[in-house]
Amino acid sequence: MRFLILLVAAALALAPRAVAQDAETEKAIEKYRAMLKEDPWSNPGFLDVDRGEALWTTAAGPKKATMEQCDLGKGPGKVEGAFAELPRYFTDADRVMDVETRLLWCMEKLQGINAADYVKRPHPGGGQPVKDLGAMATYVAAKSAGQKFAAPLGHAKEKETVALGETLFNRRSGPMDFACATCHANSGLRIRLQGLPYLAEKKEASKVIGEWPAYRVSTTHVMTMQHRMFDCFWQMRMPELQLGSDASVALIAFLAQQAAGGEIAAPGLKR
């Protein structure tokens, strides 16, 4: 039954777009979301939460180590509530990191994984499951579900990162002259029939940012926040945004600040 509804939602999402159909799609997804509230475990994103948890405790990489000593900001191995306080400045790395950048750093330091190699193809193709790093990010985020975004962002480097993120959010470039703000600096607007969140405003940002990482019905996999940024830049006709780059962390830090006080509901469910 769960999967039937999912299939119906997916089929509707793929059908030629029209107002009636889109309203139907929205209704089907809304119904599915309501079911998730009754039975939260029916979100396929939880499969990746479980996978991420298993990966966290499984020895991997050249050093055959687990991630259990990874410090996400609240001390080695402490996962509960860590996502709610990210991005943050890490003294050991001397930089601000979001959850995925930090996990990659731990994979490199603890497990000996080659980060430069990993970032060459860090995101799944359509229909493919989220990669290991993304699954762990989904697990870590889910361990803050129900908490409010409370990244401190008070350290000088954190402030600098948020300011950079805001500049990048408004920075127009590429052959279409797009900025993030082109689509996300107003309320109630849409591309075709897809509604656009007003991310330059805290009220709307705090409603949607906490839903990432999210299971996407249209691509049938979990998409992480780093992947979401990469996808926006693809649409903006920009090159491939590198996972863990300062630009990616800055945008995510800006969004986390915009979402401060908003509830974390990861993994979310998206069109």
Binding site: N170, D177, M238, L241, Q242, D246
Partner: protein
């Protein structure tokens, strides 16, 4: 030649404009480092030109002086059809208004002509109900302008370079940025300005 001299002026003015903008050097460095796989000929995509730097710095609300400088500069970049006929084939215009293909890193080598993706942001024909609202409705665009020849020319200019009419417009500069060809822009003009176009017949 006009383009060449515009480019030359742009190249000269990039440095001072960037220097005026607080934090833009950090942003430039972060963008350069954030897209390490960018091909060499994509470098202009990363930096944005003088107009984009001014619009970004002003959050798209430039001062009167800056707006006027942008308007003049962008108007000068417009290349007109050699025979000054601005109206192409509205059916082709409708096809390119529907298509969002082109210029993404997954669109190379090109498999078809670039689209204008007009429906992503604008309402046009009544028949197409899946339209965006980032831009104003263009329903009955030509009819409302009584199909006047000067309105036809202005439409061509707006599609070729929206900043020549509205400095720091959020609409792409389809001609100047070589998203669409002159022929394609004429087709888009036809979709908006032909009396036979469904945009104006209400179909």
């Amino acid at each position: 030649m006009r383009i060449l001299s515009t480019l030359f002026v742009l190249a000269l003015s990039v440095v001072p404009a960037a220097a005026q903008q607080p934090g833009s050097a950090a942003a430039d460095a972060a963008i350069k480092a954030g897209f390490p796989t960018a091909p060499a000929d994509w470098a202009p995509r990363l930096t944005g030109d003088d107009t984009m730097q001014q619009c970004s710095a002003a959050r798209n609300s430039p001062s009167k002086e800056v707006a006027e400088a942008i308007r003049k500069r962008e108007l000068a970049s417009i290349v007109y059809p050699p025979d000054n006929s601005f109206v192409g084939d509205w059916k082709k215009g409708e096809a390119l208004a529907q298509s969002g293909y082109g210029l993404r890193f997954t669109d190379y080598p090109p498999r078809q002509a670039n689209g204008g993706n007009c429906y992503a942001c604008h309402q046009l024909t009544k028949k197409e109900v899946s339209y965006g609202t980032l831009g104003p409705s263009l329903s009955e665009y030509g009819k409302l302008r009584e199909f006047k020849p000067e309105a036809v020319k202005a439409t061509y200019e707006k599609i070729y370079n929206s900043h020549a009419a509205f400095p720091c417009s959020t609409m792409p500069r389809f001609g100047t940025n070589k998203v669409l060809t002159i022929e394609q822009i004429k087709d888009a003009v036809a979709l908006l300005m032909s009396p036979e176009s469904p945009v104006n017949t209400g179909q």
